[in-house]
């Protein structure tokens, strides 16, 4: 479970990216965090894993309140897949990238190997094990980036614009993969069709605030979507 209470994020230049958001994501839920550019989606996700400091409010993940001392524990419970997979794939080979988090978690060599193979197999990308991320397609990179987080077995996964850089086929593969995951998911996106296929709840952000929170029917609300800089789905 992920619980955000009155979360506020202010950048050093004074920009208020997130303005008092309260949100509870229940176990197993797949929540679409939708909104136009600058709505505060990425800032909210980065705050949830402690990359951005809170200017106000509190965050609780898997029963742990985010704080200086609990940062490690929260990051073990909450994984984040970044918008650009190139930022997430920084090791020479995919195996090392997927193993990175497991090794930091203190797993033995054999356990790391088992986890990596299991995760790559589960996502259908076992063939990428010994490949360099420099030589992968956008879709392959995205799946590899998901594997890096999935291998750590977090209870909540945050996705930042997961469909960015993906073609139709890669998007289909991603839809299937995300649907098959048992974890609680929060997916920040402005791809409403994708959100409609994968998620079971929608939270609409505008100017760092929650404009609406409810079922996926919100994504079909033309007036609301237009107000948030998005195009409603039919």
């Amino acid at each position: 479970m992920l619980k955000l209470q009155d979360v506020t994020v202010v950048y050093p230049d004074g920009t208020k990216a997130v303005d008092g958001i309260s949100l509870t994501v229940r176990e197993g839920e797949r929540v679409a965090l939708v909104g136009g550019n600058g709505a505060g989606k990425t800032s909210l996700l980065l705050a949830a894993v402690g990359v951005l400091g809170l200017s106000g409010g509190s965050i609780e993940a898997a029963g742990i309140t985010l704080g200086k001392k609990t940062l490690g524990a929260v990051r073990e419970a909450v994984g984040m897949v970044f918008q650009n997979p190139d930022d997430q794939l920084f090791m020479p080979y995919i195996y090392d990238d997927v193993a990175f988090g497991c090794r930091n978690g203190g797993m033995s060599g054999a356990e790391v190997e088992r986890r990596v193979d299991e995760t790559l197999g589960r996502l259908g990308i076992a063939g990428l094990r010994s490949r360099s991320s420099l030589k992968l397609s956008g879709g392959e990179k995205r799946m590899a980036a998901i594997a890096t987080v999935l291998a750590m077995d977090p209870s909540v996964i945050l996705f930042d614009e997961p469909t960015a850089f993906l073609d139709h086929r890669a998007k289909r593969t991603l839809v299937t993969a995300l649907r098959s995951l048992g974890q609680t998911q929060v997916i920040a996106t402005h791809d409403l069709v994708f959100a409609d296929e994968v998620c079971n709840r929608a939270v609409v952000l505008k100017d760092g605030r929650v404009a609406a929170d409810g079922s996926l029917i919100l994504l079909r609300d033309k007036a609301l979507m237009a107000d948030c800089g998005l195009e409603a789905i039919n």
Binding site: G72, R75, F90, Y93, Y95, G105
Partner: protein
């Protein structure tokens, strides 16, 4: 550019092997390499014959770990100009005759040049074999467990990881420049300043995002990796064997001993 980055990390890909050398604990390999390098460096500049015996270590390690010789040799060749530069002055200044064999006089300068090349070959090969048989994470974990200063390990880790980031950003900028450069492939001197400045800013920005991705997966500079792999008797045996052989060869000089014995027999 992408190929260059790929080549940079090609050696580390070998570290995923399953041979007996790959399975050894990183600490054992790291210490064995350190002992080997220190002993090789400790020889004086005319001890070419005594140094030659130390070829046993890279040769055996390469054979057992199935590391392709050409990959290591290619990297060693990069260091060759520096070694030659360091040794060539000896060739010119130290002209006294050291040996005469088959009517040819060999100067002390030549002997010391060969010695420098041999030392460089042995040390570089030993380090390359260590990298080719040990995952990078294993190496840094071993350094931490050996209480090497954290600052050194962090700089080592970051340089290694951000090398690709920097090269990637430079490649993207160079492509963008070339596409609008009216046929110019290289960056012109008048654009060099802003190019370098932009590269730095972009790299810092990108490095920050990479760093965020790292900390989100449990990385904390200064934190001890909770390594659970134990050092076994096999690892200790390997370390002792390497140390004993290196020290024995340092003390007795088997080639000189061999030449003395057989030289004596032949003269009788």
């Amino acid at each position: 550019m992408k190929q260059t980055i790929h080549n940079l990390y090609a050696l580390e890909q070998l570290s995923g092997g399953k041979t007996a050398i790959h399975r050894l604990h990183p600490i054992a390999k790291l210490l064995a390499t350190a002992v080997f390098v220190v002993l090789v460096i400790s020889f004086d500049r005319y001890a070419t014959l005594r140094l030659a015996v130390y070829v046993f270590y890279p040769t055996l390690m390469m054979a057992v770990s199935e590391t392709p010789y050409h990959m290591l040799m290619k990297r060693f060749l990069l260091t060759l100009p520096f070694c030659l530069f360091a040794g060539v002055s000896n060739l010119l200044l130290d002209t006294n005759t050291a040996y005469v064999g088959g009517g040819v006089a060999v100067s002390f300068g030549t002997v010391s040049l060969v010695s420098i090349l041999l030392k460089a070959y042995l040390c570089v090969m030993a380090v390359l074999i260590l990298v080719a048989t040990t995952p990078f994470s294993g190496l840094t974990a071993a350094l931490r467990r050996l209480s090497i200063p954290q600052m050194f390990i962090t700089v080592f880790e970051m340089t290694y990881r951000y090398l690709a980031v920097l090269a990637g950003e430079a490649a993207a900028m160079r492509t963008a420049y070339a596409l609008r450069g009216a046929g110019r492939q290289a960056v012109e001197i008048r654009d060099m300043g802003s190019f370098a400045g932009q590269l730095l800013i972009r790299s810092i920005d990108r490095a920050e995002r990479v760093y965020h991705a790292m900390v989100c997966r449990g990385y904390a500079p200064g934190a001890q990796v909770r390594a659970t792999d134990k050092i076994t008797l096999k690892d200790i045996g390997f370390l002792i064997a390497v140390c004993v052989l290196c020290v024995v060869f340092r003390i007795i000089g088997p080639v000189e001993l061999f030449l003395k014995i057989f030289g004596g027999i032949l003269s009788c």
